[in-house]
Amino acid sequence: MKRFSILAGCVLALAWATTLAHAAANAPLKVVSLSTVLSDLARNVGGDKVQVIELVKAGVDPHEFQPSPGDVQQVAGADVVLVSGKGLEGYLSRLEQSSGGGSGKFVDVGSGVGPSLRLKEDKKTVEDPHWWHSIANVKKAVGVVRDAFGKADPADGAAFAAAATAYSARLDALDKEIKLKVAELPREKRKLVTSHDAFQYFARDYGFRIYPIEGVSTEAQPSSKDVAELIETIKKQGVKAVFFENIENPKVVAAITQETGAKVGGELYADGLGAPDSDAATYEAMMRHNVTTIVNALK
C-alpha cells in the first residue's frame, strides 16, 4: 500500500509538471513595446502568440516620456522589450539598469533598419529617430521583430516568419499606394512645413522638402527669429499649407498661417499612432492618413 501511494504521488507530480510545462509552452510571449508603431508591428508579427504591453501609448510624446516604477516592473517581467532606438529613448540605459537588465531581451529595432539620417540641431549633428516614416525601414523592422520573437520562442518561429512575410507584402502594397497618391502632387509643390522635424525619412522616400518649425526633438522650442525666418521661407517658396501634429501645440502653426496666408493643412501623426478610435490606429492607417492629408492640402 505504501509503495502504491509513492507511485501514485509520482504519477500525480509528473502530470502536474507536464501540465505546467504545456501551459508555459502555450503562454504568449510577453512583449513590452516602447513605441506605438512597434506595438502594431509586434501584433502583426506575433498574432495571438504574443502579449503586447505598451509603455508608450497613443498620444504620449515619446521624446519626453519617462517610465514609471510600474513600467519598470513590466520590463522586468518581459520576455522581449522592443526599443525604437536611434536616440529616441533617452531613458533607456536607466530603464535597463533599474529593471535588472535581462540577457539580451532588449531589442534595438532602430539599429536594424539601416543608416540614420543626420540632422543639425542647436549646432550639433543628431540622429533622426523618426525612421518609421519610411516603409522600407519598417519592412526591415519587421524582420528584426520576427527574428527577436523566433529567438525567444523557437517553437513558434515558423508562425512568426509566415506572419512577417504576409505583413511585408501588405507594406509593399502600401508603398505603391502612397507613391501613386504622392504622384498626384506636382514635385515642385512637395514642400512640407511641419511642427517638428519628424518627416525627413518620408521626404527622402517620396521627394518632399521639409521646413520644420521645431527641431528633431519636441523639447526645443523655436525662437521668434526662427519663426520669422520660416515665415519668409514659406512666402518665398509659395507653400500652400502648414501642418500641425497630434501631440504638438498648434498655436505656433496658427500664428504662421496668419502671417503667410498659407492654410492649415491638417493634423499629421509624427511621433506615433493615433488612439484606437482614430483613423490612424495602425501603422498602415497612420501612413494613409498622413499622405492623404498632405497631398490634398498641397495640391
Binding site: L180, P186, R187, K235, G238, G261
Partner: protein
C-alpha cells in the same frame, strides 16, 4: 484741316490721351493681383516648356485600357491607339527643376499572362528617360522625368 492748327493740336492731344491708358497699364502692373496672392512663389523660376516624345511599348498583347498622365493632364490613353503594341504622343511638358512624375496605369484581362510595358520619354537632344514595368492583370507605376536627363530630380 491743314489750315486749322488748333484742330491739329486737338488731334495730337486725342492720340496721346488714347495711348496713355495702355502705356500706364504696361508700366504700372495691377497692385490688386499681387495682393491677392500673398504666398506667391517668388524664388521659383518659371518651368521650362519643352516638346518631348513619349512612347509606350507592350511586350505582349496590349492592355484593354491604359492611361499615362502627369498631375492634372492625360498624355496618352488607350483611346488614342487600338490594338497596337506601341503607342506614341508628343508631350508639351512644363518641366520644373524638381522634374515631373508620370503615372502609368493599365489593365489586362484577368486570365492574361504576366507582361511588361516600357515607357520611354525622348528629349530633343536625343537623350531618353525610360523604365520597364512587369505586371499580371493590372499595372500602376510611376516614372519620374527630370528637368534634364542624366540629372536626378531635386526635391
Amino acid at each position: 484741316m491743314r489750315g486749322q492748327p488748333w484742330l491739329r493740336l486737338l488731334f495730337v492731344v486725342l492720340i496721346f490721351a488714347a495711348l496713355s491708358v495702355p502705356v500706364w497699364r504696361l508700366t504700372h502692373p495691377a497692385p490688386i493681383a499681387a495682393a491677392a496672392t500673398p504666398v506667391a512663389a517668388e524664388s521659383t523660376p518659371a518651368p521650362t516648356t519643352i516638346s518631348l516624345e513619349v512612347e509606350v511599348t507592350f511586350a505582349g498583347p496590349p492592355p484593354t485600357s491604359f492611361q499615362l498622365k502627369e498631375p492634372g493632364q492625360t498624355i496618352l490613353q488607350s483611346g488614342d491607339v487600338s490594338g497596337e503594341t506601341t503607342a506614341r504622343a508628343t508631350w508639351h511638358a512644363h518641366l520644373p527643376k524638381e522634374g515631373v512624375d508620370l503615372t502609368f496605369e493599365a489593365h489586362w484581362p484577368d486570365d492574361a499572362e504576366q507582361t511588361a510595358a516600357r515607357i520611354r520619354v525622348s528629349f530633343p537632344t536625343g537623350q531618353t528617360v525610360e523604365k520597364t514595368f512587369w505586371a499580371r492583370g493590372a499595372m500602376a507605376e510611376i516614372l519620374t522625368v527630370p528637368a534634364s536627363p542624366g540629372e536626378s530630380p531635386s526635391p
